[in-house]
């Protein structure tokens, strides 16, 4: 525990302030298992490295003398012993990593929560399948999970290979086009964790992040029920005009907003956009300024992404932002 705290303190400058992104700050049995393996390998190899360097230093400082020859047998035994110890240590590490790998790949029972994750260049589609299918919740770049329940992720990709990684919760798992993969998350405590794409997937690979929110089961249920509702009605004239702008411009060709007849499914679902913390795949905070800038020309923010620039008149843009910010 103390060891973990120390390492966390050392790594603090490199981690994001708002959410945890660290394999050492574990929040699930799988991550703990992986981190323990990390420490085991680090300590064993560290001690061995020091021993080798010490042996080398001794060899460099000692000169060949008359009695050197006499102790030859003893030294040969020492080398043999070192070779045996090395082999034993390597076998130990091999066994430990095989066992850790098996423990991490635990099969999940039928009670697990199923979430479908679809990788896109360069964002994450998140779906909570339901029965009937019309109750399916679709969101993007933000995954809510309940604490204390196994979560089974069904991973797929529409374009190239991506890799799903939340260091606090488990290892990496690839999303492969045409070949579904599965991944297990078992969060033990509440928290906000960051995730990234861990497999180079093109120009904006570095900006393909997401946020994972582990929360109490009742809060999760509330969130899921709220996401299941169709989009909320605009509250004022500006927002009503914003909805018209959305429906009459290029937005509607790719984005869906459930309840207003926008069915595009090639870009993130915006039905509850305002409930999300970030935009642009965890690139920017979800507030008025970044949202307006993103709409006008996301190519300046995230060059190469598939959203075209939209040079809307100022009034239309402001009303559109006001409408989108009301989609709680």
């Amino acid at each position: 525990m103390r060891r973990t705290a120390w390492s966390a303190a050392l790594l603090l400058p490199f981690t994001a302030c708002r959410a945890s992104y660290s394999a050492l700050d574990t929040a699930s049995p799988e991550a703990t298992r992986i981190t323990n393996l990390h420490w085991l390998i680090l300590w064993v190899t560290g001690v061995v490295s020091l021993a080798v360097i010490a042996a080398l230093a001794i060899a460099l400082t000692r000169r060949r003398t008359a009695e050197t020859r006499a102790g030859e047998g003893r030294r040969a035994r020492a080398v043999a012993a070192a070779a045996i110890v090395s082999t034993a240590l390597l076998l130990w590490l091999l066994t430990a990593s095989v066992l850790a790998g098996r423990a991490v790949a635990t099969p999940v029972g039928p009670g697990a929560l199923r979430i479908q994750i679809v990788g896109h260049q360069w964002w994450w589609e998140v779906r909570y399948p339901a029965d009937p299918p019309s109750d399916t919740v679709i969101t993007a770049n933000e995954i809510h999970v309940p604490v204390g329940r196994a979560v089974l992720l069904e991973l797929s990709s529409t374009d190239v290979i991506h890799s799903f990684w939340v260091p606090n919760l488990n290892g990496k798992k690839d999303l492969i086009p045409g070949r579904p993969t599965r991944h297990l998350l078992r969060p033990e405590r509440t928290g906000v964790f960051e995730g990234r794409c861990a497999e180079f997937c093109g120009y904006q690979h570095a900006h393909m992040g997401f946020v994972l929110i582990a929360e109490e089961p009742d809060r999760f249920a509330t969130w899921l029920a709220s996401e299941r509702r169709p989009a909320s009605e605009p509250i004022d004239a500006a927002a009503r005009h914003g909805r018209e702008v959305f429906l009459s411009s290029a937005c509607v060709s790719c984005h869906a907003i459930r309840g207003i007849g926008a069915f595009g499914h090639k870009a993130p679902d915006l039905t509850h956009l305002a409930s999300r913390r970030t935009i642009g795949s965890a690139m920017l905070p979800n507030t008025d300024g970044p949202l307006a800038g993103w709409i006008v020309n996301s190519q300046h923010i995230k060059p190469g992404n598939h959203m075209p620039p939209n040079l809307l008149p100022a009034d239309d843009l402001l009303d559109l932002v006001s409408y989108l910010r009301g989609l709680r």
Partner: protein
């Protein structure tokens, strides 16, 4: 003393020349790719459009056009060129001709009997990318541009999601 250095500098010259050839040679073959499009951001009417396709035979525009052809569900009616609800784009003759300008107009203005108008629903450069792509559906047309990243990596995912 001197000769090894001279031969070294000759070697360097040869390597430099080779490097320049390597850099320039394939460069001539590649289609250019624009990351920041500056064309008008909503498709314009017929009278305002440029006389020719700005992406003529550009490999990147073709692959982008192919992606958009699926994204905007052109394939919903025209399939992968074979047609269905809409006319086949592999056909020898098209009802409204094969001029790029005519294809542009068909997309932006729509046509009677089902082709919807996409005016305002997609930026002009995307219309031209789709024009560039649908032109390649014609088997008789020789594609002068070098092959770009074609549909292989898209196809697996698109197929999987529609299955």
């Amino acid at each position: 003393m001197c000769s090894p250095f001279r031969s070294l500098s000759r070697l360097r010259d040869v390597l430099l020349l080779g490097g320049v050839l390597l850099a320039v040679g394939p460069g001539c073959q590649r289609s250019s790719r624009t990351l920041l499009e500056t064309a008008p951001m909503s498709a314009k009417a017929e009278r305002d459009r440029p006389a020719r396709n700005p992406y003529e035979d550009n490999a990147y525009a073709m692959t982008e056009g192919q992606r958009l052809y699926e994204w905007y569900n052109c394939s919903g009616c025209h399939a992968r060129g074979g047609g269905g609800i809409g006319p086949p784009l592999m056909a020898k003759t098209w009802r409204y001709g094969k001029e790029p300008g005519g294809i542009y107009t068909s997309i932006v203005e729509g046509r009677p009997n089902g082709m919807p108008s996409w005016r305002g629903k997609m930026p002009e450069y995307q219309v031209w990318q789709i024009v560039t792509y649908v032109q390649t559906l014609d088997a008789d047309r020789s594609i002068a541009s070098p092959p770009g990243p074609r549909e292989e990596h898209m196809q697996a995912g698109e197929g999987a999601s529609s299955r």
